[in-house]
Amino acid sequence: MPDYPTSEPLPKTIYDVVVVGSGVVGCAMARRFALEGAKVLVLEKAVDILDGASKANSAILHTGFDAPAPGSQEHTCIVDGYNEYLEIHSRLNLPLLECGAMVLAWNEAEAGRLEQILQDAHRNGVSAARIINSRQVLAKEPQLASSVVAALEVPGEFVIDPWSAPYAYLLQALENGASLARNCELLEGSFDGSEWTLETTRGPVRSRQLINCCGLYGDLLNQKLIGVSEFEIRPRKGQFVVFDKSARNLVQSILLPVPTEVTKGIVVCPTIFGNLLVGPTAKEQQSRVDAGVDCAQLQALIERGSDILPALSQHTVTATYAGLRPATEHKDYQIKWYAEHNYCCVGGIRSTGLSSALGIAAFVYRQYTDAGNRHAPLADCDWPQVNRIADPGARDWQQPGNGGIVCHCELVTRREINQALDGPIACHSLAGLKRRTRVTMGRCQGFYCSAELSELTQGKFPQPIGIARK
């Protein structure tokens, strides 16, 4: 499979499309173009995929009930992305937690605003949404604080695995002819009217078309390659608290607040891995890399979570993290083809990217063909099955020959770790190994398995977990 090792120069192929960035959008883009028969190369400057905005989100598969109105790019892409995920997830062995969501109103003013949200949901095609009273809410979620006034129920909001999904998209792209070059930063590029010549840290690359899926760096790449960006990335940090698995059964569904003008607010939701998530905060910042957490804000999240679910205060925190969303000054996504440059920018894919990625890819491909580009779609494409690292589904720790469990908290086997280290799109960092297998992401956070991992990963990561003693 053409996942070019970092030590080798890239081949001198002329690609139909170069996708810059392997976040969830880049992965879905590579998949769409590969399945349509285009010759695709994905460039990633980091040592692993999903290392930017896509590494941290709430993992919700949105229906688009609260998206901008139909006709907006965001609405179109969320609806299409949502439907395509439901269509393909079982073929790729990707999990789906069909939990539904409720927008909770905690006072009469909020309850009054539910009607507008309901109308928007119906306008957006989410016809199953309905308003229920506090008795009905508490019957569904008995652990909720009893002061809840009413809720908008949205049965189609689901939870997915935020890392296996994009990994599977890219894997399917690669198995169907696409190529990936990691540790490969795009430095310069010039377009001669029919072809791009790109300078990368791993040498020159030639391509007919270029798609900017750079997430937090989308505006910078636009300026570098086409001299102009119609948006400015304003990184918005979202911090999250992950509660212990013991808290998972406190809720059945995703609990959303009534949104304000500024933010969608703090969500309490189950994760596909059996934890309970509270977050995100939303704060604009300058830095495109600083995804640090802040103690006071984490404490505020825990307090807010405990207001919503009083029993939560009895449970312990497993993990904390923060993600950076590539927001812009605009409300909608910023997807645009620059036909004169054979260049497409997919920018401003903020918090809904996980839900919309497949839809974005289809949207961009439609525009690509509308401009007269044609390929012969693969008649019989491969459907790789990825390892199931979330319940429900058969897990490796239940199967013989797994080599034993290494990460006890998340029940990760030696065989799963070895597959992530040596299999397709092998991970080259501990963070990558965590995303592929969940090692060290459980309650002990590496107390038990760090040593074993330092040995298993020896020589595989540019940044090792531990270096051998002399």
Partner: protein, 413 residues
């Protein structure tokens, strides 16, 4: 699924679990199985490459690995079976354990089950520490297993957080591996472990900063600095390439949480009676699962006592009790106590029972009192200190049988 049977199944092969196994096998109980999820039994001392271990058990000073090999050999010599690479994934209600092994899922049914899953340190995340999340942030346990079992170093100049016994163990591990800690800090005004311990960092050339808290961790790929705050609120940035979060042990009770057994919210371990019996009387628990954290020797001794209780339970001398006297407490200074309930009448008298094991969250003097509805049964003037074990003997079974209720209170002086 392959099914297996044994007389007593012990979940966890650390010092307490191996002691239970030795005690039972020595007493002639056939078919004692210790389930250990790691490749080797021994628990935490397995990766404590330094002394002192073994004084109480073997009357000599040993390193952790030598000590655990000895414990395991002793259990096996008496006839117990140590089954490594077997992870218990579920504690079933019918005295049945579900196991994940390299040979596939299996079950193990037993007459009695003893849970000895120990404890672990609180990692960075649960402490809600600000900053980035680069490589080089570990607990002492992770550091020690890396250094002593795999001969690898996660960093060269870390900052040590905490001043418990294990924090000094981290310091010794660093010294052994040629790692030079930049400082050891604790938010408390004095070291958590005994006072003389301050000499150790001084001896090893590591600064000990008390009244100092960790404010933020910085670094992208690896840790490059940490910001600390002193008592006056002044912030200092320390260059370092790692952070060791030591101590603040919590019970490793995930199996209990997902089982039918009652959990004690204070200790984080199962609710037990004076014999270590859980809310389902065919299940026992002992060791640091009940009281994070004590020494290996203490856990071993408790394991030996528990073996006697389990044996008595198998033999019918320790019977189901008529009633359970729950011990209540409303003192905020009391972090936890174990046992939380007394089975009455006391069908088995153990003169060596240590009584109530109590931990405090504050540092202050006061009176510790066990009282019933009418009077104080036992009272003691003590100095409460965080992470220090305090014992309070239990009144006789006859005296307790006359009680309608029991409460344990700490009255600050």
């Amino acid at each position: 699924m392959k099914t297996n049977n044994c007389q007593v199944a012990i979940v966890g092969g650390g010092p307490s679990g191996l002691a239970v196994a030795s005690g039972l096998a020595e007493a002639g109980v056939d078919d004692v199985v210790v389930l250990e999820r790691e490749a080797d039994a021994g628990g935490i001392p397995r990766h404590c490459g330094h002394s002192p271990f073994g004084l109480r058990e073997f009357h000599r000073v040993m390193s952790g690995p030598v000590y655990t090999r000895r414990l395991k050999r002793q259990a096996e010599d008496y006839g117990a079976r140590v089954w490594t690479g077997a992870t218990v994934t579920e504690i079933g209600a019918n005295r049945k354990l579900t196991l994940s092994t390299n040979d596939g899922m299996q079950s193990l049914s037993a007459e009695k089950i003893v849970i000895c899953t120990g404890n672990r340190e609180t990692p960075r995340s649960a402490r809600l520490v600000s900053g980035s999340r680069p490589l080089g942030i570990v607990t002492t346990g992770a550091l020690q297993s890396m250094v002593y079992l795999k001969h690898r170093l996660p960093f060269k100049r870390p900052l040590i957080i905490g001043s418990e016994l294990v924090s000094f163990s981290a310091l010794l591990t660093c010294r052994h591996a040629g790692i030079k800690p930049v400082a050891m800090i604790d938010t408390n005004p004095r070291v958590t472990v005994w006072k003389a311990a301050v000499l150790l960092p001084r001896l090893l050339g590591t600064r000990l900063l008390l009244n100092t808290s960790l404010e933020e961790i910085r670094g992208q790929e690896r840790v490059d600095s940490a910001t600390i705050r002193d008592a006056a609120g002044e912030l200092t940035s320390l260059e370092c390439d790692g952070v060791i979060f030591s101590g603040n042990f919590v019970a490793e009770s995930s199996l209990i949480r997902s089982s039918h057994l009652a959990l004690d919210a204070r200790s984080g371990g199962p609710v037990v009676d004076q014999y270590g019996r859980c809310s389902d009387r065919d299940y026992f628990a002992c060791g640091n699962l009940l009281h994070p954290v004590d020494t290996a020797g203490w856990c071993w001794a408790e394991g030996m006592r528990t073996a006697a209780y389990v044996n008595a339970s198998l033999g019918g001398e320790l019977t189901q009790s008529d009633r359970m006297l729950e011990i209540e407490s409303s003192s905020p200074s009391i972090k936890y106590f174990t046992p939380q309930r007394i089975a009455l009448p006391e069908t088995l008298t153990d003169r060596k029972h240590p009584g109530l094991q109590i931990r405090f969250s504050d540092n202050l003097p006061g009176r510790l009192v066990l009282r019933d509805e009418t009077s104080d049964l036992i009272a003691r003037s003590i100095r409460a200190r965080p992470e220090r074990r305090v014992l309070l003997p239990l009144p006789s079974g006859d005296r307790l049988s006359a009680c309608k209720s029991l409460s344990l209170e700490f009255l600050p002086a």
